[in-house]
């Protein structure tokens, strides 16, 4: 549980400290509209990445816990 909590904190910090996306393409149709859309887009994007890595990390932790349990049972 402690490991899971630590992993969540690390992932959250990683996501929170990342800079804004690079606007590399020229000739945007409406900068104001795109800027507004991007603000909302950032939140959705970070949540999506957070959910994805949280689920994958959760699966890894779950497998490790079950492996440990069965290994202990086999060791008895």
């Amino acid at each position: 549980m402690k490991k899971l909590f630590l992993s969540i904190v690390v992932v959250t910090l990683f996501v929170a400290l990342l800079p804004e996306g690079v606007m590399a393409q020229e000739g945007l149709p409406d900068p104001a509209a795109i800027a507004g859309q991007n603000l909302r887009g950032h939140t959705h994007m970070f949540i999506a990445y957070f959910i994805a890595w949280l689920l994958i990390l959760g699966w890894a932790v779950s497998i490790a816990r079950r492996l440990g349990k069965v290994e202990r049972a086999l060791g008895d």
Binding site: Q25, N38, R40, G41, H44, M45, I47, A48, I51, E71
Partner: protein, 238 residues
């Protein structure tokens, strides 16, 4: 778990983590922002690889399920179960990241269009895969039912792929598996392929560890069965 299986899993895990770091550098620093959708399009680099891994996992479930029905080898059922767990997880990622993208790009969280509906159906089919295993008194029967369900579920995958071509859909046309070749810019394709490689490595790492877990559980059951008062001694072993 055998040392070879564990070592292979660890190597794939390290490779997967390395690729994940490269992917994040590409997604947040390197790749260009898509013009019409903005930054939210960057969800594409985890959404599509998650879908790829989910479909591959369910393909493994179907192949191992067919093999199990034919050969009655428990190892194939254990491999199918391990792949199904990963498939479920990655389909959940697809179903959760998709609406986050859709809300900004389309203005709605969910639309009952064919691709979304079939993907949700796939998730429920594989939920049924786990339920059916537990719902029979005879474990062998449960494994057979699950194998059949795994094969039926995999038939949904080509339908999901072609649904955007055959029917009107909010989803864009395929940008990689297109008959005329990939249509996305090179930097986006490179980032996407990094994502696919990272997710594939992570999936196989966890799949091997999960398979090893099933093998150990099997060994534990056999050992318990050999003890006085165990399932075999009581005549209830399958």
């Amino acid at each position: 778990m055998s040392n070879r299986l564990r070592s292979l899993g660890v190597v794939l895990g390290f490779l997967g983590v390395l690729l994940v770091l490269v992917l994040h550098w590409q997604v947040f620093y390197w790749v260009a922002t898509e013009r019409s959708m903005g930054v939210v399009q960057r969800i594409f680099y985890i959404h599509v690889p998650a879908a790829w891994v989910a479909f591959m996992a369910f393909g493994i479930v179907a192949l191992c399920g067919a093999g199990y029905l034919w050969l009655k080898d428990d190892r194939l059922d254990q491999a199918a179960l391990s792949a199904a767990e990963g498939g479920m997880l990655f389909t959940t990622i697809v179903l959760l990241t998709g609406p986050l993208w859709g809300k900004v790009a389309w203005g709605v969280w969910w639309e009952w269009e064919l691709r979304l509906t079939l993907t949700l159906l796939l998730w429920f089919i594989y939920l049924g895969y786990f339920l059916v295993r537990k719902s029979t008194e005879n474990p062998q029967k449960g494994k057979r039912f699950a194998a059949v369900l795994g094969i039926v579920g995999a038939l949904d995958i080509p339908l999901i792929h072609i649904s955007v071509k055959w029917f009107r859909s909010l989803h864009p046309e395929p940008v990689v598996m297109n008959p005329d070749g990939p249509t996305a810019p090179p930097d986006m394709l490179i980032t996407l392929f990094t994502g696919v490689a990272a997710f594939t490595c992570l999936f196989f790492c966890f799949f091997l560890l999960r398979y090893g877990l099933e093998r150990m559980r099997h060994a534990l059951v056999l050992r318990e069965a050999g003890r006085p008062g165990g399932p075999v001694a009581n005549g209830v072993a399958s």
